[in-house]
Amino acid sequence: MGHVLREGLQQVVNGLSMGSVYALIALGYTMVYGIVKLINFAHGDVMMIGAYVGWLATSRLHMSFVPALLLAMASCALLGVIIERIAYKPLRNATRVAALITAIGVSLFLEYGNMLVASAQVRSYPPVLPSVSYKVGGVYLQYGAIVIFATTIILMILLTLTVRYTKIGKAMRAASFDKDAALMMGVNVNSTISATFAIGSALAAAAGVLYGAYYNTIDPLMGIIPGLKAFIAAVLGGIGIIPGAVVGGLVLGLTESAVSALGASTWRDAVAFLILILVLILKPSGLFGKNVREKV
């Protein structure tokens, strides 16, 4: 009996580790959606670029972990602003579907553009996170997983505080609520949206570097599945709600772990997408969202 319990606990830990990775990626996703109302399909690919910058910095420029992380975040913030200015801004008043198509285009451009530059070869991170695991009561906890979990929680708090209490955060909420009114009240909507993308992309980059360091491998297509999973996490928690993304990520991780624990590991992705579809049909506002009635 103790044996079964230990195995069950280990699966819970596995699920939480996996879930905190989804949660970390989902933070930036949900923030951008919350402010700009755009599914930034390229979010997972910005994460991939962040992972590559971090890889270049650590393995080629021999930087240590924290400077490499900061460099990746800064470069991706810039990339995010450029993407927004070139690809999304002209479509701000177009339909959401038009913006989504463009976002898919940007996503594929980043994937295959990077394949052109860095080749399709799988690269491996230098051991920036020590590969240590702790044994607590027969359950193994990985150092990397603890780091990711802690980072996710810290970033969630910082992000919530930023959006709620800082000047730029208030500007973001104003722009999200009513762009024209915000403009009239003296909010520089363009730079506010740029800032949103900069922060969102920097978060993606942080996720990318940690992801690369934790799972040790990066490749140009690495962002697709985590990006989609993060989106599912964000929808599950209520898209646009920052703590919701974290809860959504953890719930998704636990569900996937449970599916595998029951011996259906190859159905994991199908279950994840099924959750997405069910949430969208039954409660599109997610676990934490309020239902909004459509206005005519």
Partner: protein, 390 residues
């Protein structure tokens, strides 16, 4: 406005049709002159892009070397005509069709078994020989009714042999009584190796205690590993590709699982140790085509590193051999005619490749080759023993 776009559309239609016709003529005129074209139906993009790119390197090196020596048939240069099959079977058919249309004398690739199966009808219809450097599925060279596919060849051994060697090694050398199997659900290759391992292992008195599945590209395997841990097997048979293998072994060690792992030639890549860690990969073993430290390989490894800046893997070496098999066939036949090249490949005996001596069995088109078993020790795959076909 309406008219302008109407004409624009017609214009584009005409252009695309005219373009189509234009190149039809050009393609027909090609093939002669100072070059002999060999097709490469390779996985340059998509999931198995690494294989195609390593293969392209290996083939190009073989061609560059012969061209530097003055080419074949009295001064004709060999050129590689590459078509990307995008790691997709449908595209592999399209790519093969394109190459055949370009009048190539032979095709190298695809690298993966299911894509070879997709390209086979095309080359067979056009009577052009195809060498797959690393398609190890047993069925590839056999047509319906137990007859050999007349135009399909390979320089590598086949999956049943790998599974058989693995099971023999697990029972005999590692003294394993129980084993768990982890299979990549998306890979025909992994399934083939798993099946033959299981049948040989159980026939030899061993017991399979658990079978788990994953899909290549997954990054988190802790859940299935936790399940296996509960069954505590003596050995885990993991016949996947190195990116997944490295991660799986590392995550298993992090979960406190200390049993040995073993797998097939998909493990063979230097980056296995950067993906997993050298310490985690100690006490793991794999069946392979060739050891980079074997005497036949020394020159090839040196040249390859010089040219491309990284160590070759089995894919590059086998593709290099495949290219040289074609060069050899062209030279012995003294002709660039696909039919004559096919005839030469059919009776190839004692060909000295870097991956070992290759003799094609005319009844199966499989080479008679030894397999080696390597042990991963402190970040290097070290030659342990070799196993002959029985």
């Amino acid at each position: 406005m309406k008219k302008i776009f109407a004409f624009l559309t017609v214009g584009i239609l005409c252009l695309s049709l005219a373009g189509g016709c234009g190149t039809t003529g050009a393609a027909a005129g090609n093939g002669g002159g100072g070059t002999i074209k060999v097709g490469g139906d390779l996985e340059l993009t998509g999931g198995q892009a690494m294989f195609g790119q390593e293969a392209q390197n290996g083939i190009k090196m073989a061609f560059d070397q012969i061209n530097a020596k003055g080419g074949v048939l009295g001064g004709k240069k060999l050129a590689l005509d590459v078509a990307d099959n995008k790691s997709d079977p449908g595209e592999a058919t399209t790519a093969a069709t394109k190459l055949v249309g370009d009048n190539v004398v032979a095709v190298i690739g695809p690298m993966t078994s299911s894509l070879v199966a997709a390209a086979t009808p095309v080359v067979t219809d056009s009577k052009v020989p195809l060498i797959t450097p690393s398609g190890t599925n047993a069925k590839l060279t056999m047509a319906a009714g137990g007859k050999v596919q007349p135009y399909i060849f390979r320089p590598c051994f086949i999956d049943p042999f790998q599974g058989q060697v693995g099971a023999k090694f697990a029972l005999g050398t590692l003294h394993a009584k129980t084993a768990a199997v982890i299979v990549d659900q998306k890979s025909d290759y992994a399934k083939g190796l798993a099946d033959t391992f299981i049948s040989n292992f159980t026939a030899g008195g061993g017991k399979i205690v658990d079978q788990e599945k994953y899909a290549s590209g997954d990054k988190d395997f802790t859940s299935i590993l936790t399940r296996i841990k509960g069954t505590n097997p003596d050995l885990i048979w993991l016949p996947g590709y190195y990116n997944d293998d490295g991660l799986i072994v590392k995550q298993a060690r992090d979960l406190g699982m200390k049993m040995p792992f073993a797998g097939g030639d998909g493990w063979d890549d230097p980056s296995l140790f950067t993906i997993g860690t050298p310490a985690a990969l100690n006490d793991t073993y794999y069946v392979d085509h060739v050891a980079n430290d074997s005497p036949d390989m020394v020159q090839f490894v040196k040249d390859y590193k010089e040219k491309y800046g990284h160590e070759p893997n089995a894919m590059s070496a086998l593709s290099y051999d495949a290219a040289n098999m074609i060069i050899n066939a062209i030279q012995t036949a003294n002709s660039g005619d696909p039919a004559k090249i096919t005839a030469e490949l059919d009776k190839l005996t004692g060909f000295k490749g870097v991956t070992g001596e290759i003799t094609i069995d005319p009844n199966t088109h499989n080479p008679q080759k030894k397999a080696v078993i390597k042990e991963n020790k402190n970040g290097k795959g070290i030659y342990l023993t070799s196993v002959s076909p029985s």
